[in-house]
């Protein structure tokens, strides 16, 4: 695409909102919660002048059900929230997964459980990749690590949601939401409606069968069929959209695994790898569901040890261990509640992990 892209210095929240608009979102339903308030505020400012709809719901429960309605009516629709609000949305998420409907949800994760605090955390990893409400459905989960990626991933999420008829969760955090960085904006343009043959809405008599959006399947086989279709979607997504980036030594002794803001800390550690005296490489997933199992498995046969860094008490590390299947030691450095390890602490842990694995330093 040969369009000129404007480079601006903006916050992650603003980049996310503008990403939504660039991705074709014209309907936004939300409810205030820190640290993502700049997103609904941006939408309230920018959507009505371009013919879009911004509506502040009375709660997150209402917001996600407005999303459910708008999606079933054929719209590219989005909501954003932060951890406690996403927890409230789980009913709606589950209904949408059961009804096989697309939507884009952004979660700027904050400390928890409970009301927690408004500081950085990554403790909604399970909520997003496993537990989007009851039942078997799962959210395709993207993990940006910069303001630019928040913008690009949010914009691209609508396409992915429609392709797999599934919810796409963009998993940010309180730092990515509030920090500012340069960002090249994807131009807004008029977009065709996504053309969902299953959507409800007005149509000429005889034009098509009437559509029913539903997640109630009393018949066992019909209910199972929904789950099988979803599993097929996830298998296709694993083959088609699994994404990650690697950075550092081509012949690493220790592989760092981290996503989102933790990957930024690890990138800092790789830049100072000589201080640890270890050859170091970072593998950072850009998608965590589907998960980059294959590259992690491949590295597990070549490195002496892996170190996972996450701002939760050991959620993401489970997926890494499932990919490694015991081929190499996998250690964990975790902080929670708004605390983050420093780059020096990451490097100290790398030294420790390397020594344990018998790496000559």
């Amino acid at each position: 695409m040969n369009e000129e892209r404007r480079r601006v210095f903006i916050s992650g929240n603003e980049a996310t909102a503008e990403g939504g608009i660039a991705g074709g979102c014209r309907h936004f339903f939300g409810y205030p919660i820190t640290p993502q308030n700049k997103i609904p505020e941006y939408m309230a400012e920018h959507l009505p002048p371009i013919g879009g709809v911004y509506l502040q719901a009375e709660s997150e429960v209402a917001a996600i059900n407005m999303v459910y309605g708008a999606s079933s009516a054929g719209a590219r629709v989005m909501t954003t929230s932060s951890s406690p609000g996403i927890a409230l949305m789980q009913e709606g998420l589950s209904y949408m997964l059961g009804s096989e409907l697309p939507a884009v949800i952004v979660n700027m994760v904050r400390g928890g459980p409970g009301l927690g605090n408004v500081a950085v955390a990554q403790s909604d990893y399970w909520l997003s990749t496993r537990g989007a409400g009851h039942g078997d459905g799962r959210c395709i989960t993207l993990t940006p690590y910069s303001v630019q990626e928040l913008h690009n991933f949010t914009a691209g999420a609508f396409e992915i949601a429609d392709r797999y008829q599934n919810i796409v969760m963009v998993l940010g955090d309180a730092i990515l939401a509030t920090m500012m960085e340069p960002c090249e904006l994807i131009p807004r343009r008029e977009m065709e409606p996504p053309g969902r043959p299953y959507a409800v809405g007005p149509h000429e008599a005889g034009e098509r069968e009437r559509n029913i959006v539903n997640s109630l399947w009393v018949d066992f086989d019909a209910m199972e069929a929904v789950n099988i279709r979803n599993e097929e979607r996830y298998a296709r997504a694993a083959a088609e959209i699994t994404d990650w980036e690697e950075f550092g030594s081509d012949d690493p002794q220790v592989l760092l695994c981290a996503y989102g803001i933790s990957a930024r800390l690890c990138e800092g550690a790789v830049m100072r790898a000589e201080e640890a005296g270890v050859r170091l490489r970072l593998l950072r997933p850009k998608t965590v569901f589907p998960f980059p199992t294959v590259p992690i498995r491949e590295w597990s046969e070549r490195v002496d040890a892996m170190l996972v860094v996450e701002l939760s008490m050991g959620q993401f590390v489970e997926d890494v261990r499932l990919a490694v299947e015991g081929r190499c030691p996998v250690d964990l450095l975790s902080r929670a509640g708004g605390n983050m390890p420093t780059v020096s602490e990451v490097l100290a842990k790398v030294r420790e992990v390397a020594a344990k694995a018998g790496v000559a330093v």
């Binding site: 308030n37 505020e41 509506l55 709660s59 009301l115």
Partner: protein, 198 residues
């Protein structure tokens, strides 16, 4: 005891049903009580739960940086109604006291304003009365307090007080809506506290 946003009346119900002799109250803002917690407040009031609700109405979500609330006035600019609230987009501001006054459950319902010394004294009196209703086992009491948010209204504190007296009370009239049994028959927002030195 900290409850989730909007769930205060449900949590208070749980506490009061375990400890009926304890004094229980909730302290809720307008976003909390009139938006996400609308179901909880209506049902607690309808059940006539024997606790007291202090309801702070400043017509804005203050803690999350000034978004539109259900009580935001028509035309009022907030961070999520940047061109001013319109009824067409966001509906009309909700009058909680009037709404709860349609229910049989409540014993005491009043709206006061925290603006001038006489009005603040009147508010204290209403709060006292609501707690007395609880102590006497008369049931649910709520006092709505119109209060300022200078930061998100973009006013200095004095302008904000004037804004309540000049504008907000027009939509939210100061009144004792319900006092059962009507022990103290008086209009809100006017009467001096007995024995006051002012």
């Amino acid at each position: 005891m900290q409850a989730a946003h909007g769930r205060g009346p449900a949590v208070a119900t749980g506490i009061k049903r375990v400890h009926p002799d304890s004094v229980v109250f909730t302290y809720q803002g307008d976003g909390d009580l009139a938006s996400i917690g609308m179901a909880e407040i209506v049902h607690a009031a309808s059940r006539g739960e024997n606790f007291t609700v202090i309801f702070i109405n400043n017509a804005v979500f203050g803690m999350t940086q000034g978004q539109m609330a259900p009580t935001t006035l028509i035309g009022q600019k907030t961070t999520t109604s940047p061109r001013g609230r319109t009824a067409a987009e966001a509906g009309w501001p909700i009058r909680i006291c009037e709404l709860l006054d349609t229910l049989e459950g409540p014993a005491y319902i009043a709206r006061e304003a925290l603006t001038t010394p006489p009005r603040i004294r009147s508010a204290k009196k209403s709060i006292r009365r609501a707690f007395e209703a609880q102590l006497a086992g008369e049931g649910f009491g709520i006092v709505e307090l119109l209060s300022t948010c200078p930061t998100w209204w973009g006013m200095d504190p004095l302008e904000a007080i004037r804004h309540i007296d000049d504008t907000m009370v027009e939509h939210y009239p100061l009144r004792v809506f319900r006092d059962r049994p009507a022990a103290h028959d008086r209009p809100a927002g006017q009467q001096e506290e007995a024995g006051s030195d002012a």
